[in-house]
Every structure is written in C-alpha cells, then in structure tokens.
C-alpha cells in the first residue's frame, strides 16, 4: 500500500532525534488519530542548519517526517515556510488516500517550529 519511497524513509528515516541546541521546536498532535510529531530546528542566519524529528505514528507519519526534514535542511526559513503537506506527500510518490491526513503532521510541525524560532528571536 506504500510506495518504495515511503518504505525507504520509513525503514531508514533521516534526521531522527533531538537537537540540544535547538532554537525552534514545534510539536503537533493530530487530534483525529492521536499521533504526535516534534521537530527541532537549528537556524543560523535564516538558514536551517540542522533539523531533527521525533514521531509517534504510522508508517506514513514517520516517512513524511523524515521527508520534510530532508526537504528543508540547508534551506532558508522562507523557503521552508512554502513547503505544503501536498508537496511532502508528492515527494514521497504519493500516500494512500486514508493516510493523507498523516502528511498534515509533517508540514504543520515544521511551520510551528519556524514560528517558535521567530518568537524566540524577535
């Protein structure tokens, strides 16, 4: 039911873990199925120098977390803010219809972490 790309990110997730020196943290819970995702950012001069995630959820939730961290690492926060849930799902070669809501977690957590960074540094 999952694409090879999803399974690749699920079995070898990129950027799992926490950042001790994070200057932006975002956590979202999907109220619907009760899953939770947390993203840690290390932003320097508006560039995402490092990013890590922790996720409690299904295969799609873990794969989208991994994918979103890969998509924005090294990018500016303005570019990162443009990443949509749809773009994450597309980068994974699509998700089963029943799992589209899981991709909401990833982009939302990222945007929340950026917001947190901005609040910390304003």
């Amino acid at each position: 039911m999952y694409t090879d790309k999803v399974m690749d990110h699920f079995t070898n997730p990129r950027n799992v873990g926490e950042l001790d020196n994070a200057n932006g943290i975002g956590e979202v819970g999907n109220a619907k199925c009760g899953d939770i995702m947390r993203i840690y950012l290390d932003v320097q001069d508006n560039i995402i120098k490092d990013i890590k995630f922790k996720t409690f959820g299904c295969g799609a939730a873990i794969a989208t977390s991994s994918m979103v961290t890969e998509m924005v690492k090294g990018k500016s926060i303005d570019e990162a803010l443009k990443i949509t849930n749809k773009a994450v799902a597309e980068a994974l070669g699509g998700l089963p219809p029943a799992k589209m809501h899981c991709s909401n977690l990833a982009a939302d957590a990222l945007h929340k972490a950026i917001e947190d960074y901005k609040n910390n540094n304003s």
Partner: protein, 402 residues
C-alpha cells in the same frame, strides 16, 4: 528470511487434507446438490456428511445446521431474523460493546429500524459481569447476542452462565462463536444456546463458508429469498466444495482440540511471559487465564501499532494491531476502548495469534526480533525520552481510563 505467520485470528491456511477434498469437489464431484442425477446425488451426500460433522462438534442435530457464506452472514441472519420474527413480542436486544462489527453494525441497523439495543460494558480484562447482564434484561427483551471468544484480546466469555440466564428469562440466545468454534468445547444444549455462528476460514477450511446453528423450533424470519436450499432459510446454490471442506476441518479440529490446545497454551504463555519480561513498559491486554489458547495481545507503550506491523513484516512476521492507524477509521479498536484502555496505549497494541503452523522456534524468533524493533521505534518516539528517563504523565490523568 524466516516467515512467521501469527495472525490466525484473521484467517488460517487451508490444511492439506481439506484442500484435497475441496479440490475433488471442485473438479470431480462438482454436481449441483439439488440435481436428481448421480452427479447431484454425490454432491448432496458430501453436503449432508459435512452437516453431521459440524453438528457433532457442538452436540447439535444435523438438521439444525444451515450453511452460510461465513460468520458475518450467520450473524446477520440470526440477529435480523430473530428481531423480525419476534417484533410483536418486544423490541429490545442485549449485546456487548466488544462484539465483532458483524454483530455491532447489524444491531446498529436494527436500531435505525426501531429496535432498542443495550451494549453491555466489560471490565479491564474484557470480562462481562453477570449482574450487569441481569439488570439489562427487560420485559420486552427478545434476544441476547454475545460472543464466545473476543477476536482481539482472546477473552473467553462465560457462555454457559449467560445461557442459563437467558433460559431463565425465556430470551433467545445467539452466540458468535467464530473465534471459538473448533478451538474450545461447545455443547449447545448444556450451554442453552439457541443460535450459533461459525466460520470455516478460522479453522483451516476455505474462506467464504460458515454456518448458523438454529435450535429446532426457533422462529427466524429469512433475510434472503429465492430457492428451497437449506430448507428455504438460506436459498442459493450451495457452496459444495466449501461445505465439504468446512465439515472435514470441523471434524479434525474436534479430534485434535485437546492436544493442540495444550501445545498452543504453552507457546502462548512463553510468548506472553517473554514479551513482558524483555520489553519494559509492556502490558497484556485481555484476561490472563480465561483466554483463547493461541491469543497474545500486548500494548507496547510509546509506539504506534502500524509502524510496528510494518517493521515486523520486514522481518517476515505477520501480526495485527488495534491501532487507529491500521483501522482506516481513525479510531483505535472499540474493544480496547471498551476495556478502558487509553488512546495512546491502544495505539501501541499488538496481536499475535498462534495456530497449527507455529513452532517453538517461531516464538523464539519473535522474542528475538520484537524487542529490537520496539527499541528502534521508541528511539523515534517523542513520547519516550530514553535519555532523561522522563515519563509522560498523560496516561495517569487520561480521562479515558475508567
């Protein structure tokens, strides 16, 4: 890679003896059991032998067995048929919150048709209290429908006691025995059962065959129309190969039950003890002893069931989970919810159901692989902080816990 199938409550492989006779009835003895000629008569003979084999297993009479397309159809037939046949007597039905959807959704349908249904709660081990049942009985109660063994957590419900209460109150009693038929001793007379649903594919027979036991003299309105087969209660050309295979599988299950249960209980207990010992913060779901011999259901905190199933699958292990992420409905298992288990713990549930093809080596393999997988997923989980050994307190406060 080693492949370990531990999802026998979902379905079982057809056993070779059964596959052989089924093939024969597909290709050689293929007649329509209603035909007058020799081909038809041979097919008829196969059907009637199977009816006896099934009846013997539950101490019923052959003429009380009606073949259906499976457990779901038998449940529908019994519940809707009883409701329609008795609607002048009353409109109240009693069931439990932990039934299979074949029963729950049928009851919900009847509620829309004007019937009233009481869904009895269960305790933390999915056990039903007899006083709760007695209190739910009303003057207009026409049917009690309760499962024998819960398909998710394996708890064995006290069917004999329920049957006695139903009889005392003159209420018809239907048992969904899909998970116990051929696995636990059943005596429809001793247990005062009026109707019982069973299914072939849980006992090494093909999918798409099952039966309803209907006690002689019990009124039931048909829900299908069209022919005289199964004495008009279930019209339609019989699935002769399926029926013959189901009959043989039932007979063999009866013969092997005692020994196989001893073997499965030993394997089950080894697996349960091993998981609880090797994996911190794991818990058993369901009753420790009043439990189907082959059922293991545990919750592994801080991780989610679907990702666990995917990881196990990559290691060749087939299992299932009550997590919302596997249900397609965004809600965790209704059974675990009814037991008062909170969302987070229900999400991390894992069901391993053992059967004929499992060996002690399979158990050892799972006990070797599972802890590593759990560790890997916990490393990824924001709920599990292995560095600081902090534990989230949500679950002690969780409003969902009874």
């Amino acid at each position: 890679m080693r492949r370990v199938y531990m999802d026998h409550s979902a379905t079982t492989p057809v056993r070779p003896e059964v596959a052989q006779v089924v093939t024969k009835y597909f290709t050689e003895t293929f007649g329509n059991a209603s035909s007058v000629h020799a081909f038809g008569r041979e097919a008829r003979k196969g059907v009637e032998t199977a009816r006896e084999q099934i009846a013997n297993l539950i101490k019923a009479k052959p003429e009380e067995i009606f073949f259906t397309s499976g457990g779901t159809e038998a449940d529908n037939m019994a519940i809707i048929g009883t409701a329609l046949a008795n609607k002048d007597k009353g409109k109240h039905i009693i069931t439990t919150q932990i039934e299979h959807h074949a029963v729950l959704d049928t009851c919900k349908y009847l509620e829309k048709q004007g019937f009233e249904v009481t869904y009895l709660p269960v305790d933390a081990e999915a056990m039903l209290d007899m006083e709760t049942l007695k209190k739910a009985i009303r003057k207009d109660t026409i049917l009690i429908t309760i499962m024998h063994v819960n398909n998710e957590v394996g708890t064995i419900l006290p069917i004999k006691e329920i049957g006695a209460i139903a009889k005392e109150n003159n209420i018809l009693f239907h048992v969904d025995a899909v998970q116990s038929f051929g696995k636990l001793p059943i005596d429809v007379n001793q247990m005062n059962i009026d109707m019982l649903s069973a299914s072939g594919h849980k006992i090494y027979a093909p999918k798409g065959i099952g039966c309803l036991f209907l006690r002689k003299g019990t009124k039931l309105s048909p829900i299908m129309f069209g022919g005289a087969q199964e004495r008009k209660r279930r019209p339609g050309t019989e699935n002769v190969p399926g029926i013959v295979g189901f009959g043989l599988a039932a007979e063999l299950a009866g013969k092997e039950m005692e020994e196989e249960n001893k073997r499965l209980t030993k394997l089950r207990d080894k697996l349960i003890d091993g998981i609880l010992e090797k994996i911190p913060e794991s818990q058993l779901n369901g009753h420790r002893t009043q439990r189907l011999p082959g059922n293991v259901n545990v919750s592994l905190r801080y991780i989610e069931g679907e990702s666990l199933l995917l990881m196990l699958d990559l290691k060749g292990i087939a299992a299932s989970s009550g997590s919302a992420c596997t249900s397609g409905s965004l809600d965790p298992s209704h059974v675990l919810m009814a037991m008062g288990i909170c969302h987070e713990i229900a999400h991390g549930s894992l069901r391993l159901t053992l059967g004929k093809i499992n060996t002690e080596e399979d158990i050892d393999y799972v006990l070797e692989v599972l802890p590593e997988i759990v560790e890997k997923l916990r490393e990824m989980s924001p709920l599990y902080n292995s560095i600081k050994l902090e534990r989230r307190e949500e679950c002690s406060k969780c409003t969902l816990t009874k």
